[in-house]
């Protein structure tokens, strides 16, 4: 057996979902008995059968990825409850196994998967999708790239009408149908520091509270910037116009184009727009959201 075919065979077995009581399945995905599959390439020893030796890796695989996934999506878990979240996690990870060298990217396809597999999110699919988007944005904002911040002198020789401001790469802009930012902050605030040191009664009480909070959440369109201050991630609610301007800037539009798009159909009275704009730019600049312009290569 070649190295590649052995590795394919073992990976297929290791990545096969466990039984409900967390053991290796008796049948392989192709219907053959797993005992025969295991015995085909793994030696037994005086204490363990081939099946039992393979099972150690099968269980380790699922324990590792399920625990990494749960760490990344406590908000989705709060909405669904432990049982449904467990089922969703297993279904997602079975269909979207890791394609990255880092576990950080395990949840990168969750949002799109939820769109095509709505049944796993149950009746509150839109709420679950919003939370999954926010939690993934949180991961991206946490360790995303930061570029040198724009300084006033960078603007000295630029025509304001043609100015293209660049947003920091780590900033994530989200339009959401539910105020999931509040829910996620509540979930985190209620999470015990170390569950091993907390009593079962505390954990149960906490679990009931977070599920109740999720159940009460009503739709309310919000616009959010997920950003960083001093290396910590924060959620900042934005006005719709503010969000539209930032989104156009992110798309590479000029400042004029972004402002035109931002105020299109806006209910903000015309005489107030200049003041609002000034305040928004002041805030964005204070938070360091703009990067210095990219240096263009000199023409020879």
């Amino acid at each position: 057996m070649s190295l590649l075919s052995l590795q394919r065979r073992m990976a297929r077995a290791v990545m096969t979902p466990l039984t409900p009581n967390e053991r290796m399945r008796p049948l392989a995905p192709d219907g053959r008995p797993m005992r025969r599959v295991a015995a085909g390439f793994i030696k037994p020893n005086d204490r363990l059968t081939s099946f039992e030796r393979l099972e150690i890796y099968n269980r380790q695989y699922w324990f590792r990825i399920l625990s990494g996934f749960a760490e990344d999506f406590p908000g989705v878990r709060a909405i669904l409850g432990d049982r449904r979240f467990d089922a969703l996690s297993k279904a997602y990870l079975k269909q979207c196994p890791s394609r990255s060298f880092t576990l950080r990217n395990l949840g990168s396809r969750l949002e799109s998967w939820l769109h095509t597999h709505p049944r796993w999110a149950g009746a509150r699919q839109k709420l679950v999708v919003d939370m999954a988007r926010l939690e993934w944005a949180d991961i991206e904002a946490f360790d995303g790239k930061a570029e040198p911040t724009l300084k006033p002198e960078d603007l000295a020789s630029v025509d304001p009408g043609r100015l293209r401001l660049r947003l920091q790469p780590y900033i994530q802009l989200l339009d959401l149908r539910y105020p999931v930012d509040d829910l996620l902050l509540a979930v985190r605030a209620g999470a015990p520091e170390d569950s091993q040191d907390s009593s079962n009664a505390f954990n149960e009480r906490h679990k009931r509270k977070r599920v109740a909070a999720a159940a009460r959440l009503r739709p309310s369109n919000i616009f959010l910037a997920v950003h960083r201050v001093d290396y910590s991630v924060y959620f900042r609610r934005l006005d719709p116009e503010e969000f539209a301007i930032l989104r156009r800037l992110r798309q590479g539009k000029s400042l004029n184009q972004a402002m035109d798009a931002g105020f299109r159909g806006s209910k903000i009275p015309r005489d107030r727009r200049a003041a609002d704009l000034s305040q928004w730019f002041h805030n964005w600049a204070a938070l360091g959201w703009f990067c210095r312009p990219e240096k263009r290569a000199a023409k020879s």
């Binding site: 990976a11 290791v14 150690i56 196994p97 890791s98 360790d143 790239k145």
Partner: protein, 283 residues
């Protein structure tokens, strides 16, 4: 043999693994530690807190990179994005050598995030050594491969684990990160004499040594890095040091992590063995 070409002729002493639960202690108390080992993948990101913390650590300490997902033994080619990010990190940390495991863990672009055991065949040794060479040439730093703990053996194997390790490192002309805890764990799981393993390793290629604790179950031992080092592992360490000489030694503690001081104290127990080995060599 305090330094060799596989650890870039450095003479590092006893280090510990850098773990997030200890960041605050390290950055505020600035304890005296010879060096820290980082898990490369935790810092192969574009920015934010991980790199900020790393830069602050680098201002005060020497850092060596240890990877967990290069998968030298995977039949597929090395991931270019992984290599590019790893090289960026190597430039940042100025690590004297880079280590990763003699194992596989990905196939057809799918990652298990586990250290899966190799079939000990000549074909596997050849492919693995070729990948080690490719990675070393790309990164431009010495590479040390680490023996893993394993729970399974394959029918197709043509040699013992230590023969396979020797075959790979000779073909790749690379270093060894000798994990004496992993040797102990595998020796119990596969019923071989761990001293035979330690005695068979080419001493001149050992760039670094790992020590760690593990968990014992009824029918097998699991490499969990969540306990102090047990006496039989210290005895293997002692024998390894006797053969290899004073070598960069690192304690791994990854789960149920106690205070920084407890981890460091456990690591410093290695001093006793380093001192007696030095004495034995002197007389």
């Amino acid at each position: 043999m305090p330094a060799n070409r596989f650890n870039n002729f450095t003479d590092y002493g006893i280090g510990i693994g850098l773990r997030s639960t200890h960041y605050h202690h390290i950055l505020t108390r600035k304890p005296v530690v010879d060096w820290f080992e980082i898990i490369s993948e935790n810092f192969m990101v574009d920015g934010g807190r991980p790199l900020h913390i790393l830069d602050r650590i680098l201002e005060q300490y020497r850092v060596v990179q240890h990877g967990v997902s290069m998968y030298f033994g995977s039949a597929e080619r090395a991931n270019r994005e992984h290599l590019r990010r790893l090289k960026d990190l190597v430039k940042r940390t100025k690590t004297p050598w880079v280590s990763d495991h003699l194992c596989w863990g990905s196939v057809d672009g799918r990652y298990t995030h586990d250290l899966l055991p190799m079939p000990y065949t000549f074909e596997a040794a050849k492919l693995t050594a070729q990948k080690v060479r490719e990675v070393r040439d790309f990164l431009e730093v010495p590479i040390a491969v680490e023996n893993v703990s394993s729970y399974a053996e394959f029918h197709v194997s043509e040699m013992s684990e230590w023969e396979f390790l020797n075959e790979v490192v000779e073909r790749a002309d690379c270093g060894i990160l000798l994990d004496v805890n992993n040797i102990y764990v595998s020796s119990q799981n596969h019923s071989f004499d761990p001293l035979t393993y330690v005695n068979s390793v080419p001493a001149e290629r050992v760039a670094q040594i790992h020590i760690a604790g593990h968990s014992k179950y009824r029918k097998y031992i699991l490499d969990t890095h969540d306990h102090p080092v047990i006496d039989p592992v210290w005895r293997l360490y002692s024998r390894a040091i006797e053969r290899v000489g004073h070598t960069a030694t690192l304690l791994e503690w990854d789960d149920s992590i106690p205070s920084f001081q407890q981890v460091h104290d456990e690591a410093l127990k290695a001093n006793k063995f380093l001192a007696s080995a030095a004495l034995a060599r002197a007389v």
